[in-house]
Symmetry: C2
Subunit: 427 residues, 2 copies
């Protein structure tokens, strides 16, 4: 973290308009949290050293890279959701940065502009903005929101009064009429970025971007494929971190580093080596997204002697599972393919959303899990509601399921640990 | 209420599959609540005797009428929202019945199938269903839901496992692409009802239904127009009840009765007579819908010596303000007009929803209000969020605003009364 960094970024943060003392305080929270959750682990893949470095420079070097990218004529586009097509951002010379935030920051100020009973993720992103402690959002030329839930939909109206914001309307069903609406939103997104960047979307650039982003997804697929082995070669926490970092790291570098970790994991699997003994209880985690530094549930499970082997999350399989077909010849072909790929994601914002149940049950089988943890952020209605449906499906399949509802505070860690321990014992 | 009714409906309720003892208990809650809130008022318009009768037969005579209507080949369609076009239901021989429920019923059972932190309105409709205490829903051939908020959207998935349910996808913006989606939903709704009823939508029937429903709205407009006078000729509670009953009463009879009340109110206005002295503090209420028997806020305001003169609510101006043009010649013309009229309603489910702010500030002026109460059901995120925007607009206009967040319990009545009294004193 910054307090270990050799470079002093104070001037950069000041230039970005950050509240430097408050920002320092935030970094001093994240740093020790990372050390406690991550550096305490044994037998980590050597390749994870890259992520330790990334985390130590999370508000430093990466921000400098983004500012250099902007100085060279590029744009930085902030997003909050897996539905915003990164391919289009990249093809127009932009870098896409996931802004979802996983820490309690400036919540008292947030509650001056939005309801107290909003989920921690939304309060967090607003807190990072209101508290002026996020160099990412301050580096963006534009933030792209979407209508995935009531809270985000209305929060973007508030954000729009403080920062350039573009909202994509995600439909709520997946029929042809909905696809038509979504396709028009993809076109509107292209127009918005063309206007912002002064560039025009070209087939070659879009094709290259599709390949690059697919390569990132393929690397994550490889890493996650290795988690099917018993013993599992990487902790759930480390695998979760890889997807979390995928949202804001430099794409080709990230892909290369994750492939290096995947090489290592495949060698471990061939050797029968793992981070936990064979037979350790294997857990699938599904539900609300987990943004850095929200490692709470994984940490609890793995401290309790289980291991998380898969995530059906936006910071999990929903992010990397599907690829955009690479055979499109024209921009039109490729935008059609992008429309379908993104509409294919099974978020709880859709009704019905039975595809998510299928995904969970398929993954439970493929990863040979002993149990499922359904994780919902408090006040995240869509996932809270689906918790009931998922529990029913798991029961029908004979797979034990534990429902957890929590926020970003650490007050319930003791109680959750007790529940998770009892769950693992029961498996 | 039923315990005053001379007819015994037990057999009818049993035939509908109600839990008769539990249903009795519900009626015994609503009856005294109505007496306390309504019959205690003085100087009520004589025409309100009709509503006293309607309320005394709320689960009796009206249900019998609906069952007779079904026996004669008609259908009964349940709805939860002002966006479902009643004209289409009527033109296909149906009666539309608003099912939103305003009482705490079977909440422990509800919390077995949906999150505890769901708004009281949604929990209530599910409770009426799960507790088998609502003869309306049990009389319906079909319930029509809509995607207006996360809670309702996901609750209909649960309801769909217990009752025939059709969900209309309301878009989240109001651009041409959204109108196209909404138009296709109107067509799908027509198809669904044609299939259900075995009838075909004909121009003459649709034209007649448009007029009939417009007549209902015009009657409510007249009643509400009279509330602009000072002294105000009708209490807010009585005016609210008229709109609440509009959702499920026989349309032509209701229209006739409300017009009779409007005649009476206009005479009162001409005579300078009112239910409260001239100069009584005049309040506009805006926010989440209020379903029978949710009269909590109006009751508190009027007991505290103020008077509610207008409601910018789904059970208020959003219900009756706009008419469907009556000059359509073909079914196509009329469906186009219906598409626009309904998409015109300014619900907090839209982003942005600045039209609602305009409506509120216009009404505040037209009704010469002294203050605004922004009412949000707890966990009703869309209206909770907009509370901040509405407060800002009111402040800019120099109109005092009080934000209330509550549920259906009576536990906070003392505290709310204190706040409302302080607010009225300050005006």
């Amino acid at each position: 973290m910054s307090d270990q960094a050799t470079v002093d970024y104070t001037e950069m943060w000041t230039d970005l308009g950050l509240n430097v003392p408050a920002h320092c305080a935030v970094l001093k929270l994240i740093g020790p949290a990372y050390e406690a959750a991550y550096l305490s682990q044994s037998d980590r893949p050597e390749g994870m050293a890259y992520f330790d470095f990334v985390m130590s420079e999370i508000h430093g070097l990466r921000i400098k890279e983004l500012l250099d990218h902007k100085a060279a004529g590029g744009s930085v586009i902030g997003t909050f959701c897996v539905y915003v097509p990164e391919e289009i951002i990249r093809a127009l010379g932009g870098q896409g940065i996931g802004l979802c935030a996983g820490a309690e920051v400036a919540f008292p100020e947030v509650e001056q502009v939005m309801p107290r009973n909003t989920c921690a993720l939304i309060k967090s992103f607003m807190g990072f903005k209101l508290g002026r402690v996020c160099p990412y959002i301050e580096s963006t030329d534009l933030v792209v929101g979407e209508t995935t839930c009531d809270g985000k939909k209305k929060a973007y109206e508030v954000l729009g009064t403080m920062h350039p914001t573009h909202v994509m309307e995600l439909p709520q069903m997946k029929r042809p009429e909905d696809r038509a609406l979504w396709r028009s939103e993809i076109d509107r997104f292209v127009e918005k970025l063309e206007e912002l960047t002064g560039r025009q979307l070209e087939a070659d650039a879009l094709r290259a971007a599709i390949r690059e982003v697919n390569d990132k997804r393929r690397a994550l697929q490889r890493l996650n494929e290795a988690r099917k082995a018993d013993p599992v070669p990487i902790s759930g926490k480390d695998a979760l971190l890889a997807v979390q970092v995928a949202f804001y790291d430099d794409v080709p570098r990230f892909t290369q580093m994750v492939n290096a970790i995947a090489d290592e994991l495949e060698a471990r699997v061939a050797d029968g080596a793992g981070v936990a003994p064979a037979g350790t209880k294997r857990i699938l985690v599904t539900g609300s997204p987990m943004a850095i530094p929200n490692w709470k549930v994984h940490d609890i499970v793995e401290r309790a002697g289980g291991v998380v082997v898969a995530e059906e999350l936006c910071t999990g399989s929903r992010y990397y599972d599907a690829l955009v077909p690479e055979d499109g010849e024209t921009v039109e072909d490729m935008l059609e393919a992008i429309t379908d790929k993104y509409l294919g994601v099974n978020c709880a914002c859709f009704t019905p959303n039975t595809g998510r149940i299928d995904d969970i049950m398929r993954m439970a089988e493929e990863y040979e899990v002993d149990g499922i943890i359904h994780y919902a952020l408090q006040f995240c209605s869509p996932y809270q509601f689906e918790g009931y449906t998922v529990e029913k499906a798991a029961r029908a399949a004979g797979t034990p399921l534990l429902r957890i509802e929590t926020d970003y505070s650490m007050e319930d860690v003791g109680q959750l640990s007790t529940r998770v321990e009892a769950f693992l014992e029961m498996l």
